[in-house]
Symmetry: C2
Subunit: 397 residues, 2 copies
């Protein structure tokens, strides 16, 4: 018996799923333990030259109402109509694998509940870190751990820009322009540059690790558009790289603190060496101490690889994988505000300011130093004001 | 109903499994979807002060013949009696999770076949890379990929020694002594230092990825005892770190080439930043391009975390996970000899030698350079002889 699945959307990721599936069909079927084939590809556009043109449909109901289709790969992006389509599939008992981080970050709890109610699976490995296996390791491989912190470089566009600023002394504006020319950044780069994309991904990780849905709107998010070349250079001299870090930690009282912001990473930390468009996720647990996962966070085949890995899992799992789930949350009292973030801080102050710390570095752009003491976000803001600081950035602990 | 499992061996890893299980029992049971408890701990020694002293037994048959025990964690190490015990458990339908790389590298095919024949599972995530999830990602998360190369820093002891040589200009002998003092190296460090431990691990990875059992005796293995401080320093100036790399690649004709040897890694490669006792595994696939997994490769709780993760999986999986298996191999014709390894090479020759490449570096210890051209292992050995080379080491491509 051959298992039939459908691919929703024939954009970059969706066409990658089709391409990779037919390239590795034989070994995929061996790993799935059954023959497999794509029965439908949903897209409103026409693809007359595609070798699979006979599989295209513009009508979602063709897929929904075909009982032979037991698994669906959703690669459309955006909340609607993806949410309506995915929910309908799950309610018919068709497992869904998605690369759509916006969908999972906004509606994950509802879709996981629908999968559970209809004895199928909603998988989303591709929604965080592209090709990097992170969702399954978090709830399966590290299942014996009490995980208390996760920190990641979860957006390739901003990491590319920061790498160019660091390696080539390029300004933010020039590096962004280059990223756009190379196709790494959208025409409207807001979602990447201002941290919204990374925010969605840390919401998904936070929900999975801590068991309650974390909505993007409750997560402090600051992008990299204000990161100055002077800070990148000074941080380097002080032994650190600046990266856009999406992180979540559990506080002593049990609340969690998710946030997205540029942070200084010590050169000794393996995360500091994550360059260009690569992503990485560092996980802290009581058993493992720390583990890092690294790879391509975006792109056609890397993302398709993660979607297809999930499709294969959906074929193997006849029942709902309950360890990969979380509850809905009706309030946000379990989320601590960013004001409570406690860490050491980097400051850049006018060169003539004398209230500086040990090991300060002075150049034309001011005096830069890292505090010995741990300050809360609020205390750091107060200190920045008092020092008339030109910049201040937290240091990742 | 509560699932009962047994722990074979109460050494470093076995006692870690017991400790971590009771520490995180509640969340582990949530992830397993059932109550769980340890019913027996097997060890020939007495542990009268253990809070779990009533669970100890010296008789393996207590465990084997107790039908209530459905899952077993094997943390004894060595091939025998582990092999006999594990095989007996599997033949009774009890799933086994092991940290024992020697056992898997020598007998994996037999034990996987026994698990399949008796509808249970033989899991071994802990046998490679300690806390790092690598076995499950390789056969599950990356299932849509055609994997053609894996390269890893798979031994923490040698990586610690090489890090000390690099960071602190310490000689091999001094760094080994320090590693022994810190408990990172055994009194007899041969298995680590000469690469045998890393060899077992790359055998397990090779078997899993390419589907046929690869025995350690067929894998060229060279350790780090001949790595000279002069080469570590010169490689750094030439932009590379020296690491003990266990790797396997598929050649164009379909044969695979596994080997263990010191290699030069370019500083830009994320693997060059893997320091101290940390391990990492870099996987190359046609979908993902590359992905790296990083973490603690050894130690009580990190290894216990991986064993327990497998025990939880064994509780969730009622049937054999067939994607995690390989065939026995009666001959070794699918393994290419190391002589066919093709890559660029680092040479150190006497300072007065004039047959050197571009960008050479000369100091009191000789002239060091990296070839532009790709040479086979055999060609490199010939060139080394002709140049009267003091050292030659392959560069990881």
């Amino acid at each position: 018996m051959s298992v039939k699945f459908a691919v929703l959307g024939h954009g970059v990721v969706g066409s990658g799923v089709v391409e990779l599936f037919y390239k590795n069909k034989k070994s995929i079927e061996k790993r799935a333990g059954t023959e497999m084939d794509i029965k439908y590809i949903l897209d409103l556009r026409d693809f007359p030259d595609s070798p699979y043109h006979d599989k295209f449909t513009k009508d979602f109901n063709d897929i929904l109402n075909d009982d032979e289709v037991t698994s669906v790969a959703e690669c459309m992006g955006g909340v609607e109509p993806a949410f309506t389509f995915v929910k309908a599939c799950l309610e018919k008992g068709k497992s869904v694998s998605t690369s759509n981080k916006e969908l999972v970050a906004e509606k994950g709890d509802i879709l996981l509940a629908a999968a559970k109610a209809h004895n199928c699976n909603f998988f989303f490995e591709a929604s965080v870190g592209g090709a990097i296996p992170i969702i399954r390791p978090l709830h399966r491989c590290l299942a014996a751990n009490d995980i208390n912190k996760v920190a990641g470089i979860l957006n390739g566009t901003t990491n590319f820009i920061l790498t160019k600023m660091y390696n080539d002394n390029m300004s933010f504006a020039d590096a962004l322009k280059l990223a756009q020319e190379l196709g790494y950044a959208e025409k409207d780069p807001t979602a990447d540059v201002e941290g919204h994309d990374a925010c969605r991904k840390i919401c998904i990780i936070s929900s999975l690790v801590f068991g309650k849905h974390v909505y993007p709107k409750y997560v402090y998010t600051k992008g990299i558009s204000e990161v100055d070349l002077a800070d990148v250079a000074a941080a380097d001299i002080l032994g650190h790289a600046i990266k856009l870090i999406a992180s979540v930690r559990r506080l002593d009282d049990g609340r969690i603190l998710p946030c997205v912001m540029p942070m200084l990473i010590p050169h000794e930390n393996i995360m500091a060496g994550v360059s260009d468009v690569f992503n990485s996720v560092l996980v802290y647990g009581d058993g493992i101490d720390q583990a890092m996962f690294y790879g391509r966070g975006a792109g056609k085949l890397p993302t398709a690889s993660a979607v297809l890995g999930d499709v294969i899992e959906s074929v193997k799992h006849k029942i709902t994988v309950f360890s990969q789930s979380w509850d809905s949350s009706d309030d946000n009292s379990f989320i601590a505000p960013v004001e409570e973030l406690s860490t050491r801080w980097y400051f850049r102050v006018p060169a003539d300011c004398d209230a500086v710390g040990e090991g300060a570095y002075t150049d034309d752009n001011g005096t830069s130093f890292i505090t010995e003491e741990v300050l809360t976000f609020t205390q750091a803001a107060d200190k920045a004001k008092a020092l008339n600081a030109l910049a201040y950035i937290p240091v990742m602990d």
